[in-house]
Structure formats: C-alpha cells, structure tokens
Symmetry: D3
Subunit: 164 residues, 6 copies
C-alpha cells in the first residue's frame, strides 16, 4: 500500500492570486495532501500589504472547498520547517525565465542544506503566466479592476484594505 504523499507549497501569497490557486489545485494530481505555507519574516512585515494573519484567513477561505489542502505558516528557513513537519517535497510555480533562475538557485541551495529535500516545479494555466501578486497589488492600489486575477475572498479584502 503506497504511503500518503504530502507536499509544501511555500510563498508570500500577498495576496493569493488565481495563478497560485491553480498551482495548488493542480499539485493534488500527484500528492495526497498539500500544505500551503505562508512564509513570514519579522523584518519584512512592514512592507507587506496584508498581515500574516490576514493572508492565512484569505487562504483558508479560498481553499475551504478542498479538504486535502491545509493552510499554515512558518518563519525561518524553509528547510527547517520541512524538517519539523517531516515533509520533504516542495512545490513551486514557474512562469518566466527570471522565476526559473531564482528557483533553480534556491533548489540547489536547499538541497545543499537538506539532501532529502526535493523541489518540483509546475507551470500555471497559460492565462495566468503574466500574473504576480506584486502586479495585483500595484493595479489594485491604482484603482484598477483585479476581479479576474483573484478569488472573491481576496477581492473583498483588497477593496476593504485599499478603501480603509
């Protein structure tokens, strides 16, 4: 009997886009359970649009329909978090060459820090290849309509945040 396979999908998710959601849901084709993990670094919190708490809430709302996705957060090194939860498979999305170079560097570095860790990369649906959380923040802050780029729970919070 095969064991249950779990992967971690780490990121800032500030905010979660439809591209992130697409990667998360697609990964369930080859893992039984996915931990979507919000990375937080105390020193960078000021620069964020949403707090870790807000991001966790949005992720929970967006993935409420999918019992195989668990939402969590971590601080510190990814390899230490992987070790603590005993999950050694990490999923990341790739959209562009610049993504690729950074992810490639991180994959090799993480493997150096933990030879057990394996990172696998996926491509989002073609309609999301140009999407990024920073672009969503920028467009929303300039009053643009981002309803085709994020889920309803994220859209509501973006509007509340920017109106506030």
């Amino acid at each position: 009997m095969p064991e249950q396979r779990t992967a971690i999908y780490p990121g800032s998710f500030d905010p979660l886009t439809l591209g992130h959601e697409d990667i998360a849901r697609r990964s369930l084709k080859f893992v039984d359970r996915l931990m979507v993990a919000v990375a937080h670094y105390p020193t960078q919190e000021k620069a964020r649009l949403f707090s870790v708490q807000e991001r966790l809430e949005m992720l929970q709302e967006c993935f409420a329909d999918e019992p195989r996705i668990e939402v969590t957060d971590f601080s510190g090194l990814l390899v230490k978090f992987c070790d603590r939860v005993d999950v050694h498979l990490v999923v990341r999305g790739l959209r562009a060459v610049s993504d690729f170079e950074y992810e490639f560097q991180m994959a090799l570095m993480n493997r150096e820090l933990d030879p057990e860790l394996e990172m696998v990369f996926m491509t989002p649906g073609v309609e999301y290849t140009f999407l990024s959380a920073s672009l969503v923040r920028e467009i929303a802050s300039l009053g643009g309509d981002v309803s085709q780029f994020v889920s309803k729970p994220v859209l509501d919070r973006l509007q509340a945040k920017l109106a506030g």
Copy 2:
C-alpha cells in the same frame, strides 16, 4: 488509502547520462512507480547514435536495481502515449534557461492537447547541471573520457559502438 502514483519520464536517452538517472531516481520521492520511456520517431532514427533497442537495453541494465522503475518506449505524440497507459503525470529535468523555455512551451502545448496531463520539472544534482546526452556523444566520439558522466553499462556500449 491513497492510490498508487505513476509518472512517465520521456526522453531520447541517446545515451542515458548520470543526470537522467539522477532525475529518475529522485522522482521516486513523490511517485510510486516511474515509466522511463524512450521516444522514437522513425524519421529521426538515422541521426541517433544508439537504436531504440540498444537504448532500451542500456536503460534496463542501469535501472536493474530499482523495481519501481519500468523501461519502455513509445512513438507518436506523448499525450497519446499518456492516454494509452492512463498515466497523466510527466516528469522532466531542467538544467538551464534554454531547457526551461522549450519545456514551458511543451507543457502549455501538451496541456492544450490534454487538459488532464500535468508536467512537473525537477533539477538534477548540481554536479550534473552541465551534462547533456549530446555533449557525452560528442566527447566520446572525439576520444574523450566520459566515465564520470555515464553508468558502466552505457560506457561499455559507447566504447564498443565507437570502436566498431
């Protein structure tokens, strides 16, 4: 109880390098069974160093120790082969930006042809990031020593082929 997960690792493998072997073995961290599948196209066979039959034999020898890896071959479209064996997860290695662009294009195209198909990408060990089958062929044909780039069964056949 989780179902058994199978993936396909397609390629030319002309010949199999240690980089290919590394990707195949690492993939067993998240799949239960891997089909390493030699792609063959009748019109391109003349340009190959090894015949499909020779490549299958080398692959079988190199993976003889790993019962979870099955060696096979296919002709025609990858998506049709995936459909025929009812496996919808494909593994590919990424070493460089040029790999990435090509693989990205193929991943989007294959998803267009079969929305069920998912391609996941992995990076080989850092010591194999510069390795390619074509470089191995070129060095071996010029009399260079490729013993650190391929397994013993491949090395033996390369030497026999080039001496013949």
Copy 3:
C-alpha cells in the same frame, strides 16, 4: 493629411498559425496596410512542409476577409525587398526569450544594412504564446489534432498533405 502607413510582416509561415494571424490583424491598429510576405530560399525549400505556392494560397484564403492585408513573397535579403517595395517598417511577433535574442540580433543587423528600416515587435494573445509553426507541423505529422492552432484553410491542407 497623414500619409498611408504600410508595414511588412515577413516569415516562413510553414504553415500560418493562429498566432501569426493574431499578430497580423493586431498590426492593423497602427498601420493602414500590411504586406504578409513569405520568405523563400531555394536551398531550404526541400525541408519545408508546404511549397511557397501552397503557403501563398493558404495565406490568401486566411486573410480573404481583410482587404488591408496583402499576401506576397520574396527571396533574398529582407532589406532589399523592403527597398524594392519602398516600405521601411517591419513587424515581428515575440513569444519567448529565445525569440527576443534572435529578433534583437536581426533588428540591429538589418538597421546596419539599411538605416531607414525600423522593426517593431508585438506579442500575440496569451493563448498563442506557446504556439509555433514547427510545433504544429510536428503534432500534425504525429496524428495530433491541431484544429485549435490553425485556421480552417490551413487545417484542410495539413490533413490533405499528411494523408497524401
């Protein structure tokens, strides 16, 4: 009164894809007239799937609805053709980094050969960013369905050609 603006869209178009059509039609937003020009080089004709004559016919059928697009062909240097028809604006599509590097090199080289020549680059619709004529040929020759990648006149000829 502004003069009439004409551009040339050169390419192999072996065959014309929906991505090519998209670039051609979008260019009419800033030019009054577009010459879609099939490049032919006697020494490369053997490697083509369709003859220049067949490609011209397909282009004419695909753009029959658009009086502002003229279909033509040329051999020899692009800069000489531009000079002969007295059009000094060239349109090209960009999909990926590898496209970009090649096109950038050609744009600088062509400007060296003809300082009057200007090349402008456009991106196709996101749904066509993974499309290429060579991929269409490959998929069609392996029996895949390319009906979502090419227009009806191209599809009919592809099927006739590959059945023949």
Copy 4:
C-alpha cells in the same frame, strides 16, 4: 484618407537618456504624433532624482525641435490614461532579456485590462543598448562624465542638481 495615428511612450524618464530619445524619434516613422508621458506615483516621488515638474521641463527642452512629440504626464494606471486620451497604442523600448520579460508580462496584463490596447516594442540604436536612466544617475552621482549618454538640457540639470 488614413486617420492620424498617435501613440503613447510612457516611462519614468528620471532622467531622459539618449536611448529614450532614440526610441521616441524612431517611433515617428510609423505614428504621426507621439505623447511622451512621465508616469508619477505619489508614493515613489521621494526616491526620484528629479521631480515630475523637472522631468517635464527637460523633456520639453529635448523635444522642442519636434512638433509631432507632445510631452505630458499621468498618474494611476496606464490603461486608464490611454482611455482618457483615447490613444490605444503604446510604445516601449527593449534592450535586454530582463526588459523583455517585464515588458511581456505588462503587455499581457494591460491587454487583459483593456483589450483595445496594443503595445509595440522597439530596439534603440546599438550604441544605446547598455544605457539606462539608473546607470546614468549612478555614474553622475559618483562624479562620472555622462555627456555622451544624455542631451544638453539633461546634462545641465544633472550637474546643477548634483552640485546643489
């Protein structure tokens, strides 16, 4: 009779380089009128070397000889500005792969926000391919000679600003 074609060339222009000027003047080969538009975002003004007002003045001086170029500014989303002035063609320069990836992402995103908008890309003269406004600022601030990279009006203001 063809209608008059207008394009927008948006940017920070902090300061305008000879590479920017080259793109602007070359674009007049295929548009009748160009609006060079200084983008300003209240939150980023502190980080700029020149104020929007100073940049507008420099642009006006540099393009004083060209009646077909109009200098303006905008805040907020580019697509909204395009809509307000009813111009749906945007010109951008491309120098390197990193430019390309960013511009490609923006082009696809902007088309999503406004399907009427078309972005076209141009390459500057080869002697400007390594030039950027940030490099000009850095060299000038370290006391280097930038007279071969910017026009006289920009050079004068750079020297006054850095001496001040």
Copy 5:
C-alpha cells in the same frame, strides 16, 4: 621579458563567499597579482551587514596565504579607481543569466567611460554556481548553517555579528 600583469576584482563581498574565493584564486592562472577591492558607497553602508572595515579584515584573513592577492577598497566609479592604480583589467564572476545581463551592461558602459578598460568573466566551480552573498546573509540570519559556503574567518564573524 613580459611585464607583470595585475587585475582588479571588485565587489561588495558582504561577506566573501567560497565562490568569490574560487574566482580570485583561479584568476591567478592568468594574472601575476590580483587586487580584491571592496566597493563602498556612503549612502548604502546602512544596508550592509558588515562595515567596509570588517569586510577588509575578513578578506585579509581569507587571503593571508596568498601573497599575490592584495586586499583594498575604493569608493566612487570603478573606472576612476582603475585609472588611479593604473590597472586596466577587471575580473568578474558569472553564475547565471541574470548575472550575465548586468555584467554585460556594465562592461559596455565601463568601456564607454574608459576605452582602455577590459573586463574578463570567469565561472566559479560548479559547486558554487548557486551561491551568493545575499543568500548566505539570509540563511545565516535565519539560523541556518553556512559553514560549507564561507571560510572560517567569515563564519566566525557571521556568528559573532548575528549573536550580537
């Protein structure tokens, strides 16, 4: 009798990694003497982990065994420093495409500022291709083990700095 060849290896070295050390020592295969030069810009000192003084001390300790390497620092433009010490050869390491584009731009710009200056690029050992000073800082600050990425003198100071 050939003259003595000297090169400059400029960088931030915040801190020096084994990848930097590798480039420096390899360069001695083609130069007789190398000046490893810490670049400092007053306005950026706040963002640094180590002061210029600390970085100079670490460099001196790491290269204490190599009399052909001299450690120094400079502020202002690299081309002016090269001119002052009358050394017109600059060595830089290349690890990835993003490095390449930046370095290429700087090489062309520096040649414009000083036609005598020549920049040569080297690749570090494959085991260092994923290493960067910023990654070392990040991992160390999150409590990760960086002992395989930096020399003993750097490791000691990193631990003292982060404990302090």
Copy 6:
C-alpha cells in the same frame, strides 16, 4: 620575473568576423601571446563555407600585423589540444544570453575533463554584439554587402567563393 602567458582562442571562424578580431586583439591586454585555433571535425567539413586551409589563410592575413598572434588548427577535443600545446587558458567571446548558456556549459564540462583548464570570457565592442559568422555567411550568400562586418582578406575570399 613573470612567465610568458599564452591563451588559446578556439572557434570555427567560418569566416572570421570583425567581432572575432576584436576579441583576439583585446585579449592581448592580458596575455603575451594568443593562439587563434581553427577547430575542425572531419564529419562537419561538408557543411562549412570555407575549408580549414582557407580559414587558416584568412586568419594569417588578418593577423599578419600582430606578431603576438599565432594561427593554428586542431581536431579532436579542445582539452587534449590544450594539453598538447601546454596552454591552459582559453578565451571566448560572449554576445548574448544564448552564447552564455552554451559557453557556461562548456566551461564546466571542460573543467571536469581538465581541472587545470581555465576559460575566460570577453565582450566584443558594442558595435559587434549582433554579429555572427553564420549571419555574415547568410547575408553574403543573399548578395548583401558585408564589408562593414569582415576584414578585407575575408571580404575578397567571400566574394570569390560566392561568385565561383
């Protein structure tokens, strides 16, 4: 007393362009002697425009004014040639990202085959960044003027070859 430094500049040089000449002459800033070495592979000779003998003659004519440059040829592996002539420094030009990836792969592979070998990369003058031997061949064969891309001895032979 420093020893004499020699480097090898290997390539196909089919034909030598002004970009190649630029790299060769610039390298004399840090080596005392340069061996420009025409690589030849029996199996590829048919595809060449010029024979190895013709390329050697053109190189000798183009570098006749520079006694520090020696023209030679080699077949087989570059690392074996380096070993035979006891020169362990190799110079290569870099123009674009695609060059970089290939050269990076070769540099790592060659170092694996010969740990003593060091490859250094240089950028040609900005006016040659778009030049390649294959582009020169293509333009010349289509009747274009390549007099600004190659030296007189190469131009004469190109014209004789293509007229013949």
